[in-house]
Amino acid sequence: MTNEHRADRRVALVCNRFGPDVAGGAELVMAELGQGLHGQGWEVDVITSAARDLYTWKNELPEGTSVERGLRVLRFRTVLGADQKARNRIGGLIGAGADVPLADQYRWMNAGVRVPGMHEYLVDHASEYRALLFAPYLFWTTFACAEIAPERTILHPCLHDEPEARLEIFRPMFEGSRGILFQTGPEQDLGRSLFTLPARTALVGSGIHPPAGYDAEGFRRRHGIEGEFILYAGRREWGKGWPELLRHLEFANGHLPRPLPLVTCGVGDVGAVPRNVRVTDLGYLSDEERSNAMAAATVYVQPSAMESFSRTVMEAWLAGTVVVANAASAVVAWHCERSGAGLFYRDRYEFAEALRLLADRRETRTAMACRGREYVLQNYRWPDVLGRVERAIEEWT
């Protein structure tokens, strides 16, 4: 491929899913980056799949080219591997930290969802873009396509400290890309500890849009929620710490003066709920209503150990709500320590005591929440993040 067709201000954002109702932190970041860069005068193509749902990967959105909010979106058909049994078996071994051979790592990756049309498009057209931004690292779309034109590939990995990150198959992508954008210091440290990173890396953070206002009371009224509650927004799955949250809350509710109900929004099965835990599942909420939920909550909980940025924690702080988070996530613990706006726990006992302290001490809670809002506004406003991303693209490509 040559550089002769390269457009100076044309970039492609490559992600596994894209659309107004697609859930996922990395997907939201890509959507925001696309809009932001477009607003700065960049010609932005979004190269993605026709899937909406992370679990089924059904081709629900129309394949082909469309224009959505000023962005040219190219959607390609997903293909799901036939041998899910092998994928699950190998995935289980990877999750358990086993030393899985390279051939099986490839088999595991290729047995998942693939988007061959996207690969073909990029082989033929990568040279027409100044830069290709890929996110997140764990999906086939990034794994397979980031190697096509590494000289113009900028990785936005959303890296988590998880067994998969240690797989050898990801080494070429991290070590061969033109540059890497990290969202937090711990994510960058993790990247450095796992790979020999390229010289060009930048800590760009991620951006949050402060809502125009919050309607906490309206939220309570609309959903029939009264009194104090803790909130979790996100995917309800093992990888996000959902089952552990329920177990910890079961324990905590057995020790708190007043059991705290849990309100949740997002996708995934709630599953079996302990008897002393009341869970209200609101399903998928709009951004605005999720912000209202954040403002209405007494405490926002982040049980996930595998966060690369944790947008919901930022949203909670922005809404003036204190956070209790799993200390196993170096990223969230880093945010909590830097901001002084969140407590983190290493086990169910610390979890229960963190809730007890925040429930008992309203002033402490409020002071911490204020610090959280300041922290987000100082560090993670979209215009600042966009400026850093633009600088990286201009300097590196």
Binding site: M1, R89, H119, E120, A149, E151, T196
Partner: protein, 450 residues
């Protein structure tokens, strides 16, 4: 025209997969509709298990019938992987022959063939094997190889007529992947802008002979001058012989002024950037069929020093120096860099730095024996040590059988067995799954092309 390519494909990181991407892109640029069918799920539009099953081969035949042209990027494992039983092989052979006969305009690009296993075989089994390969490779409309050496090998191994084998320019579909000039490439790689830079690049493996290049550099009289050798690459297979070889390279590079080992993943673009940055490539391979690296050197107009193995002599152009031993290698490097050979250079610290491990010593013995064998019995190989399929080194599967014993004692045992079996079965299943998993681990496939 609708073209079907049968080949491994990315994200599989083998050289043939990388080659096929370039072939497919070139054909698409020419206006053809290109579909690739890979032996395992990949970025290709289709996948079918044709490497192991006749069903997969018949699926490819069906796709081939819908195409106007079928290109097969052939090496034996592509169609006969892990097939060890004779009846399996015959079934697979028949299916492949049917496909080659009935597929649409089937063209075979032979990257590797079982030359050494077939040359000189006069026993009945050998004759049958030669005839089967000859028939199979003659069935396609065209059978291509990249070099005349490969054509001669194929003729010697199978008895095919030379006229039935067509030469295909190796670099015909190669695409330029790195822009810019030498100065910029050197700046980006942190190399001195003025010196003379040799480059040995590729996966770090004993048969690449990069250690020979470092030793040859040590024999140059550089007077601390600006002559460098960069050995660039990563470990593809973490086998003991490769790891000890890389350790050897580290020692040699550390002890030889001007030599540097740049270990790490090399993307396609970075690969080409190194080529752009260098003055000449040094590829003193001990064993290889043909070299994609040499083609890429030609693509960027960089001279290369190559050893006279496999088809490299045929691949060489006017700018390529073909060497036959280490003395010629040193002389060629000295000539290109414009420096003299050092007197008594064999006593250089680089040689003293080398402490051979047991694996290294075995590697040297094996390699030297191979060279000697080639001199006296060209085209033959040492008897192959049979690869374990995993099951041989594993204990047998766990099977819960009913306890034996007569009378009351036996009855009690069997009763206890019935009562506790439901608890044991999940454990047994798990143990057997782990065992099956280990048994299925495949040896990594290595390809030399890039």
């Amino acid at each position: 025209m609708r073209v079907l390519i049968v080949s491994p494909y990315p994200p599989d990181r083998c050289g043939i997969a990388s080659y096929t991407v370039q072939v497919a892109a070139t054909l698409r640029k020419q206006g053809h509709q290109v579909d690739v069918v890979s032996p395992q799920p990949s970025a290709a539009r289709y996948s079918a298990d044709y490497a192991r099953t006749t069903r997969g081969v018949l699926q490819v035949l069906s796709l081939s019938r819908r195409a106007d042209r079928t290109l097969v990027e052939f090496f034996p494992d592509l169609l006969f992987q892990m097939i060890q039983r004779k009846d399996q092989f015959i079934r697979q052979w028949l299916a492949v022959a049917l496909w080659f006969r009935l597929g649409r305009r089937v063209e075979l690009v032979v990257h590797e063939a079982p030359y050494r296993d077939l040359v000189g075989r006069t026993d009945p089994r050998g004759r049958i094997a030669r005839a089967m390969w000859r028939t199979l490779l003659s069935l396609p409309r065209t059978t291509y190889v990249h070099t005349d050496w490969e054509r001669r090998q194929l003729v010697a191994a199978t008895g095919m007529r030379p006229d039935d084998i067509t030469l295909l320019e190796h670099g015909e579909s190669f695409l330029v992947r790195a822009g810019g000039d030498r100065e910029r490439a050197r700046r980006e790689l942190g190399l001195s802008p003025t010196g003379y830079h040799f480059l040995s690049i590729g996966f770090l493996q004993p048969h690449k002979g990069f250690d020979r290049a470092i030793r040859a550099l040590a024999r140059l009289e550089t007077d601390g001058g600006d002559v460098h050798l960069h050995v660039v690459g990563s470990i593809r297979v973490h086998s003991p012989d490769v790891l000890s070889h890389v350790e050897l390279l580290r020692n040699l590079a550390g002890a030889t002024p001007g030599a540097a080992l740049h270990e790490g993943y090399v993307s396609d673009e970075l690969f080409d950037r190194w080529i752009v940055a260098c003055d000449a490539l040094v590829l003193p391979y001990r064993d290889i069929w043909s070299s994609g690296v040499l083609e890429r050197a030609k693509l960027y107009g960089r001279p290369a020093i190559v050893s006279d193995v496999g088809g490299l002599g045929d691949q060489a152009d006017a700018s390529t120096r073909v060497i036959h031993d280490d003395d010629e290698l040193s002389a060629a490097m000295a000539e290109l860099a414009g420096v003299p050979l050092a007197a008594g250079a064999l006593g250089h610290p680089a040689a003293a730095a080398e402490v051979l491990s047991y694996e290294d010593a075995m590697g040297v013995v094996t390699r030297r024996a191979a060279a000697l064998r080639q001199r006296y019995e060209p085209g033959t190989a040492a008897p192959e040590r049979r690869r374990s399929d995993g099951t041989r080194t594993l204990p047998p599967p766990v099977v819960l059988s009913a306890p034996d014993g007569r009378g009351l004692r036996g009855q009690v045992k069997r009763a206890i067995d019935k009562l506790t079996r439901w608890e044991l079965m999940p454990l047994v299943r798990q143990v057997n799954e782990i065992r099956e998993y280990l048994a299925r681990q495949e040896p990594g496939r290595e390809q030399e092309h890039r």
